[in-house]
Symmetry: C2
Subunit: 200 residues, 2 copies
DNA sequence: CCTTATGTAGACTGACAGTCGGTATAGACT
DNA sequence: AGTCTATACCGACTGTCAGTCTACATAAGG
């Protein structure tokens, strides 16, 4: 005897897992809802019972993936001074997580375009954006960088890192390209170092 | 008597203009090829005679739009020292051009995702990417910034600017948000200033 | 048990990208 | 001139896909 809640949760999990694998491997446009049904061993009606549209299903996948990646980052990056250093390693980790496997496709390539700017930013802010903002805020408080609006800066840095992932994904020589971009990103962050500390 | 070349060119222009308006207003996914045909007053066969797929039509629109924007930037930004200043005003101009109207939809939201990283980068490199790379190269030669790989840096800055456009597009208070992001972008670029000049 | 709510199932519909056989016209070659 | 060929253009047709609808199964409440 299986309770309804358990059935429901199991179905949802199966759908999410199947969708995640397919979207990650082939991209949003190339995956049909029927394919998700087949892979999850669920009928169409069942799938639509949980997710009203294909975009909603994709959004759930995006949210799940983003939560996973940002949890990984949060767990592995120390929240201690120097905060600018923490920011750098967090960015590097973000880069690594997104560069490989299905995360790139889901989070970097399809995510923003499919969900649209508004929905995307909601998820983004709740995960990586929040982490970056936190680190920058701490850096400001610790006097590592000038006092300044933190949110736009976090947005910019995330955009830069995202573009780096994209550029490396398209490159032939992955590791060299990745090194170059990570180096450039580090320099960009280092440049934020407080003017006061340099007497400018 | 109208020559074939003229007919061909006229049809192509009409298709491109119609597609540009529709894609810009409603986004790639929401525009059907039939709608483009209606608007351009062309039959489906004719449209497909010029553009083999919907994506190809969109790519032509993207290329045309990108060329227009980057020509505008090139014309209005002086190619003279200080090159970092030129880079900043170029970025600001890119931001302005992309933030308003159909360019945002075409170049920032749909472009990368629809064309895929490889095709996108080809167009990007030929327009904005090229300009940014040029400015950075000049800045390096003039000693305004440290000698370093210029291409990754250009990629990162463009990514940051693109993300800024997206963030401002979604914001309610446009002008304040735009100011904040432009300020942050300027600080990021300023931070690149050569270490030597600061004795670090 | 019987009813109702909740979840499942797959055939069906409308819309869309892309195709295919056909037509008309510009230019080449007698 | 006339004829021929290549190319621009046309629009009905096809296959596929997102999303709907109706019929059915199972768990909780009277």
């Amino acid at each position: 005897m299986v309770s309804q809640d358990q059935r429901k949760a199991a179905t949802r999990r199966a759908a999410l897992a199947a969708a995640s694998a397919l979207f990650g491997a082939e991209g949003y446009a190339a995956v049909s809802m029927d394919a998700v049904c087949r892979r999850a061993d669920i009928a169409k009606g069942g799938l639509y019972h949980h997710f009203p549209t294909k975009a909603a299903l994709f959004e759930a996948v995006v949210a799940h993936t983003a939560a996973g990646v940002s949890a990984e980052i949060e767990a592995r990056v120390p929240q201690a001074p120097p905060y600018l250093g923490a920011l750098k390693s967090g960015m590097a980790l973000f880069f690594q997580e997104c560069a490989v496997g299905s995360a790139r496709r889901i989070l970097v390539e399809d995510g923003p375009a499919v969900l649209g700017p508004t929905r995307w930013r909601a998820i983004d802010q709740a995960s990586f954006g929040g982490l970056a903002r936190l680190a920058l805020h701490a850096a400001v408080e610790a006097g590592e960088i000038d006092r300044q609006p933190v949110e736009p800066l976090a947005t910019l840095l995330l955009g830069a890192a995202t573009e780096a992932v994209l550029a490396c994904g398209a490159a032939e020589e992955y590791s060299a390209t990745a090194q170059a971009h990570l180096g450039a990103l580090d320099r960009l962050i280092d440049g934020l170092g407080a003017r006061d500390a340099r007497g400018v």
